[in-house]
Subunit: 218 residues, 2 copies
């Protein structure tokens, strides 16, 4: 299982690291971190540096392509060269997956046209505008495309893919090895089950920077 | 809130990135990634490169110290210079926290002597041998020390600390922003609720490399 995970500037780090921590434990898995160019990228808040080991253009194929989200993903969704690389690599995959607003990148590349998919709850309209049919589920499978909801949902998707690819015994061993027995001290993780005021405040905050994306390039 | 997260070679990446993704969203939080020396480190399986932005010796103080685990943590628990840095920094913190076998590092530094603490389920004996009292809970608080169980438990600990430090409204907003509504497709995350054979197999595998740590240095 040859796994390629996309990294880029202004990524939401957990989008990538959640499923990485699960999928890289599959027997025989080889995980590579690829990006627009080799070298250091930084997370959404600039606090964390992550290393792109290989430029996407040098990746000839992979079995599983994993596309995380973040403000940087929304930026890259406007980059035709990057979208062309995703289209090319997608033709070699067994599974193409996204977490959070990584789905907007897949959709912008035309890969989710007419397909059921999910993304971070605050970006359903954008996903629909890019031709996909947004579904409010933890993760959605349509053909070889597997999309997860916001940020932490990538862990659940990772386990679901581990189950599919390697069977229950392996998936259970991975779950136990990362002690994934979630016990959130609060119950505010699902947008359908929180106060509308909280949801609206977060929605506005999520989109606060997105107007930069439609401004003309400097 | 000045947060310092330790990074090192052979770290379990999710141990660090789970609580980072939560805690760095606290209003006014500043997160720095520190390690034995500045530069690139790689995760336990070498697949992921993470960047240490500041050498630990150059960090004069922090409010919250976060110590992740992994095989590299078990190695560093034998490094007196690193343990001395942790002891020094701990004297400046409001909260000193660990995830997974990061607790073994805190314990080796003498910070958990006689304290209740937790760690990855496969390392309770090692934690006890280092002077702490292991407790099988998702996370444990004793004085200013907050320790989480294995790998993914750092997300739950992060939210518990966010709740404590910034109140329910902020913690709920963080939980919703990372859409933390876990829906594991399997139920094998708790060692007390899996088949003993699975637990024993994983226990052996977890400790497979640990004999290297007691071998004489080359």
């Amino acid at each position: 299982m040859d796994i390629v995970c996309l990294l880029f500037d202004e990524i939401t780090a957990l989008d990538a690291i959640g499923p990485y921590e699960v999928l890289s434990r599959l027997p025989g898995a080889r995980t590579r971190f690829a990006g627009p160019r080799e070298g250091l990228v930084r997370s959404e808040n600039r606090a964390l540096g992550l290393h792109v080991d290989v430029a996407l253009e040098h990746v000839t194929s992979c079995d599983l392509l994993l596309v995380p989200g973040g403000f940087g993903a929304r930026k890259l969704a406007l980059d035709p060269a990057l979208l062309a690389e995703l289209q090319r690599l997608d033709q070699t995959t067994q599974i193409t997956a996204s977490v959070c607003t990584g789905a907007l990148l897949l959709a912008a590349a035309g890969l989710l046209n007419g397909r059921k998919a999910t993304t971070h709850w605050a970006y359903f309209e954008q996903l629909r505008a890019l031709g996909a049919e947004p579904i409010a589920e933890r993760y959605v499978r349509d053909g070889k495309y597997a999309t997860a909801a916001g940020v932490s949902a990538g862990i659940d998707l990772g386990l679901a893919l581990a189950l599919e690819l390697a069977g229950q015994e392996v998936a259970e061993a991975i779950q136990l090895s990362i002690e994934y027995d979630p016990t959130p001290p609060l119950a505010a993780g699902n947008p359908a089950r929180v106060a509308p005021a909280l949801r609206e405040r977060l929605y506005s905050r999520s989109h606060r920077r997105d107007h930069e994306l439609s401004a003309p390039a400097k």
